[in-house]
């Protein structure tokens, strides 16, 4: 634990040095990078130890405020999320150095670095806190700091708006969590997690209210449909490395919270499992569908976060059902799939956001219909982005496939659990999600990197500096590693899954045995893919070396291939699918003589939340006349209140005698 806090301290020190040395930019960059990197490296050590089966003693600070001692500890779940926080956090922070550098003169870059390190620290605190008070404090710090990271470009009105929507969403979630613990407190001696867990049997209706509030509170953070409405705007508006952190780590804290809840309360009621499962399905399908409709690269990626949260929730839901219906292996696999996909999504989604950031830096636009042909100008970025795309679509030989496969295993495994058999219907849903994701990333790759540039900006784009490529390739490497050698991630994930269910070593070993051979098979498949692809490429080159090779324009069926504008746009590419899924896709189609446009609308934010708020506002303004400024009526209110109370007095005066 000391090592952990040492690391966090070093991270914070890095942020402070960035602020202190802001006059000498290069020095500040070095200090920030070194200290943050070192700190993350230090702090991850205890986590690794725990995931390897070791134990780290808790740290307990005697109570300074009511609610019991402040305890910090690292159990398998915390350790797993700690790894996510620190790896992605370090990558984003390091990337941020040169990503923000061009803004140094007109925006508070140093402050942003400091906020970043604070954010990493509070994330680490969230996953290690073992009592309600420090948990809530760390939680709110994480949320609010994230807000300030998002509104870095606060001179743009839409950034401010997105930030406000985010803040409102997250604060509402926090209120739900406060309600959760305030309700729970009445059954427990104090607010330490141990006490709360001990008190959980006393919660009426097997903790129904706690679980419901948990879904509301943590759901806002995780961004599951329909609580996702803050997410696309915030991720789109934030600086790219912040989006990477938000999408990769911050929203995952919602998942962490739900899993922690399961640990504390024990097997959730059946309805909760089904609820989470169906929420996962809805979020997955709608998320990817809405992603297809986007034209803004970062908003598109943001909606994919919603989709992947859906996949994670599928695992979580089936795990909960397995727990409830005493199918330990299904439970372990479900939870393991959830945490594993959390890790994988953190890796490839932050990779993708960093790639998007590189595109943004190079071309200055996020609109896909202005981009194109970047594969030639930014080959390294394109390679990294392609790896991320294959991973997020869940294709072999990368990590996305591994975690989706584990979730599939859990869902298919429910065939053996009579009470939960219906859960297997989620399998085709997951397949649909995969197919749609494939369509979406074909669209992204095609529109942004392939074909010909659609605008001068895209023509101008060039490769970004190494300091930005480095983090991207580090993440890509991690994706490939987990894809080729799944055991390194799956085995710890299974340990975590077992710990979540409160299941002993037995189920853990059973689950490990159940997937062990398959993992070997997957690993073999991945190796074959890589090796044979290389061999095939080499063979093909060998063959073609002796053949005439000519270069010309793209064959346009007899026409001369005139302008890049003739290329298929992202909008047209997605149109058939969106048309098939209307109205759920939530796009407004606009056909003019010369053009075809689709305008994405968020069904929840634009059709539900904002209208409701508008109605509330109008209602509030209807109350304004109360304060119309005439003293006489003010006194009348007073008189009225007095008479009302006297009436109450008269009613209640008999009854209780002296």
């Amino acid at each position: 634990m000391t090592l952990f806090f040492l690391g966090i301290a070093s991270v914070l020190l890095g942020g402070l040095s960035a602020l202190a040395l802001r006059r000498q930019a290069s020095l500040a960059a070095i200090a920030f990078g070194v200290l943050v990197g070192l700190g993350c490296a230090l702090a991850v050590v205890p986590a690794i130890r725990v995931l390897a089966g070791g134990v780290v003693p808790d740290l307990r600070l005697s109570a300074a405020v009511p609610g019991g001692d402040w305890v910090f500890g690292v159990d398998p779940l915390s350790a797993f999320f700690l790894v996510i926080v620190l790896t992605v956090g370090a990558a984003s922070a390091l990337y941020g150095i040169s990503y923000l550098a061009p803004e140094a003169e007109h925006r508070p870059v140093a402050a942003s670095h400091l906020l970043m390190s604070l954010e990493i620290a509070s994330l680490a605190m969230v996953v290690t806190a073992r009592a309600a008070m420090p948990f809530l404090i760390a939680w709110e710090c994480m949320a609010v700091l994230a807000y300030f990271l998002i509104v870095f470009e606060s001179d743009h009105a839409e950034v401010r708006r997105a930030g406000l929507v985010y803040l409102i969403g997250t604060h509402t979630g926090t209120l739900a969590l406060i309600a959760l613990f305030a309700f729970w407190a009445q059954f427990a001696g104090n607010l330490s997690f141990d006490a709360l867990a001990a008190a959980s049997p006393r919660i009426p209706a097997e903790g129904a209210l706690v679980f419901a509030l948990g879904v509301a509170g943590f759901g806002f953070k995780a961004g599951l449909v329909p609580l996702h409405f803050w997410l696309p705007g915030a991720h789109g508006a934030a600086p790219s490395h912040v989006s990477a952190l938000m999408s990769g780590v911050v929203i995952k804290m919602g998942i962490y919270g739900l899993l922690r809840l399961v640990i504390l309360v024990g097997a959730p009621p059946a309805w909760w499992g089904w609820l989470v499962l169906s929420l996962g399905l809805i979020s997955g399908v709608l998320g990817v569908l809405w992603a297809l409709a986007q034209h803004d690269l970062k908003r598109l990626l943001a909606y994919h976060s919603v989709e992947n949260i859906g996949i994670i929730l599928l695992g979580l839901g089936i795990g909960a059902l397995g727990l409830r219906y005493h199918a330990p292996v299904v439970a372990v696999l479900g939870f393991a799939g959830a945490v594993l996909h959390t890790l994988n999504h953190a890796l490839f989604k932050s990779l993708l956001f960093l790639g998007a950031g590189a595109v943004l830096r190079a071309t200055g636009t996020r609109l896909m219909d202005r981009l194109g042909g970047l594969a030639r100008r930014m080959p390294f970025t394109w390679t990294a982005f392609l790896i991320g795309s294959v991973a997020i679509v869940g294709l072999p030989p990368l990590n996305g496939f591994v975690s989706e496969w584990v979730v599939y295993q859990a869902l298919l495994g429910s065939a053996q659990v009579p009470a939960a058999r219906a859960a297997i219907l989620a399998v085709p849903g997951l397949a649909l999600i995969g197919a749609l994701a494939l369509a979406c990333f074909a669209k992204v790759g095609g529109a942004v990197f392939l074909g010909r540039p659609r605008s001068p900006a895209a023509e101008a784009g060039g490769e970004v500096p190494r300091s930005m490529l480095g983090p991207m390739f580090a993440l890509a490497l991690a994706c490939a590693a987990i894809g080729v050698a799944p055991m390194i991630a799956v085995v710890p994930a299974i340990r975590v899954g077992a710990s979540i269910g409160g299941l002993g070593g037995g189920p853990m070993r059973a689950a490990a045995a159940a997937v062990g051979p398959s993992l070997l098979g997957i690993s073999l498949l991945a190796v074959l893919l890589v090796v044979l692809a290389g061999a095939g490429w080499w063979l093909r080159e060998l063959v073609l070396r002796r053949r005439p090779r000519a270069w010309s324009d793209t064959w346009a069926c007899g026409y001369a291939f005139a302008t890049p504008r003739m290329q298929y746009t992202a909008a047209s590419f997605a149109a058939p699918l969106l048309h098939a899924y209307a109205p759920a896709a939530g796009v407004q189609v606009e056909r003019t003589a010369g053009a075809f446009h689709t305008h994405p609308k968020d069904l929840v934010l634009d059709r539900l939340v904002l209208p409701l708020w508008e109605r509330l506002r109008r209602g509030a303004f209807r109350a304004r006349p109360i304060q119309h400024g005439r003293l006489g009526s003010y006194l009348l209110y007073l008189l009225g209140a007095l008479l009302l109370l006297l009436l109450y007095l008269a009613v209640r005066v008999e009854g209780v005698g002296p």
């Binding site: 297997i424 219907l425 085709p428 649909l432 369509a439 074909g451 074959l528 890049p564 590419f573």
Partner: protein, 304 residues
């Protein structure tokens, strides 16, 4: 990993180009024409392989890499199917997911290659391809889920093996529906009528053909072979569902498979001669129907 298995894979890899020819032949005969010889595709592939290649200046390595990936994924997917009726060359619990996702990987790269050319035609084809796939994938998985429920196994070898044979008498109607929906999926994956028309010569109406418009020479050969192989694999899946051969000795099973594939190709030909290509925005309905069939099968299994 049995020798019969490997032999089976080799044979399927070899006869794959035969199937489109057979379909075309059947169609020709039924429409009173003589038609091209059955082995036409072999000749085409050979000729293309010997040719040189012309590349668009717009394209990048993706364009040239995709054909390799398509064939490779097809070959690897073949390893999972119990082609000899006994067991796949590689098999593990949950490999059915790997099977489907391998095919998806191939599709992903072909689509990217199409977009790499920056041509509006190939963009159009790519868009249609992913649309069709997005509707075919759930149907395929629903069918697989039905098989999982019927057999209680999680590997292709398992769900297509002995237990399936035992499940047939109990759940004949459900399995029949599953088989039909798998056949519809086959039509889509193999880009046949009524989803796509390989014989058309108007780019605006094609799906798969228009995607590979710009490829030439060996690349085109690889692409054509890859799609033929995909047809063969899904066909093998259909055959395996209709005629589980776990009881038969490997060689007989293999013979049954080859025969079955011929029959399937024949049926495709028949369908193509009696049906016209659907309007593109009707395709989703068509494939949704496939999903619904499979879903009915699954529901029957669940309530049983």
């Amino acid at each position: 990993m049995s020798w019969s298995g490997i032999a089976a894979v080799a044979i399927v890899l070899f006869i794959a180009p035969l199937l489109p020819g057979l379909a075309a032949k059947t169609k020709a005969r039924l429409t009173g024409r003589r038609g091209a010889p059955v082995h036409q595709l072999y000749w085409d592939l050979a000729r293309l392989w010997r040719k040189g290649a012309v590349y668009s200046r717009t394209t990048t390595w993706i364009f040239r890499f995709a054909p390799v990936v398509l064939v490779l994924t097809g070959v690897l997917a073949a390893l999972f199917l119990p082609l000899d009726g006994q067991r796949g060359v590689v098999t593990f619990s949950g490999d059915l997911v790997a099977f489907a996702y391998l095919l998806a990987l191939g599709r992903f790269f072909v689509v990217l290659a199409a977009l790499d050319t920056g041509s509006s035609f190939e963009g159009m084809g790519a868009s249609r391809e992913v649309t069709v796939a997005a509707f075919a994938e759930p149907a395929l998985f629903l069918a697989l889920v039905a098989l999982v429920l019927a057999t209680g196994r999680l590997s292709l070898t398992g769900i297509l093996g002995a237990p399936l044979a035992h499940a047939w008498p109990a759940a004949a109607p459900a399995l029949a529906m599953v088989a039909v929906s798998l056949f519809l999926v086959l039509l889509a994956e193999g880009s046949r009528v009524p989803v796509d028309d390989p014989a058309t010569h108007l780019e605006l109406t094609m799906i798969h053909e228009v995607m590979v418009l710009d490829h030439s020479g060996p690349d085109l050969a690889l692409l054509l072979y890859g799609s033929a192989l995909k047809l063969a694999l899904v066909g093998a899946l259909v055959v395996a569902v209709i005629a589980p051969r776990a009881a038969l000795p490997p060689l007989v099973g293999l013979a049954v498979l080859v025969l079955g594939l011929m029959v399937v190709a024949g049926i495709i030909g028949v369908v193509e001669s009696v049906m016209a290509r659907l309007r593109l925005d009707r395709v989703p309905q068509f494939l949704t129907a496939a999903s619904v069939l499979a879903a009915l099968g699954v529901i029957l299994m669940l309530v049983a």
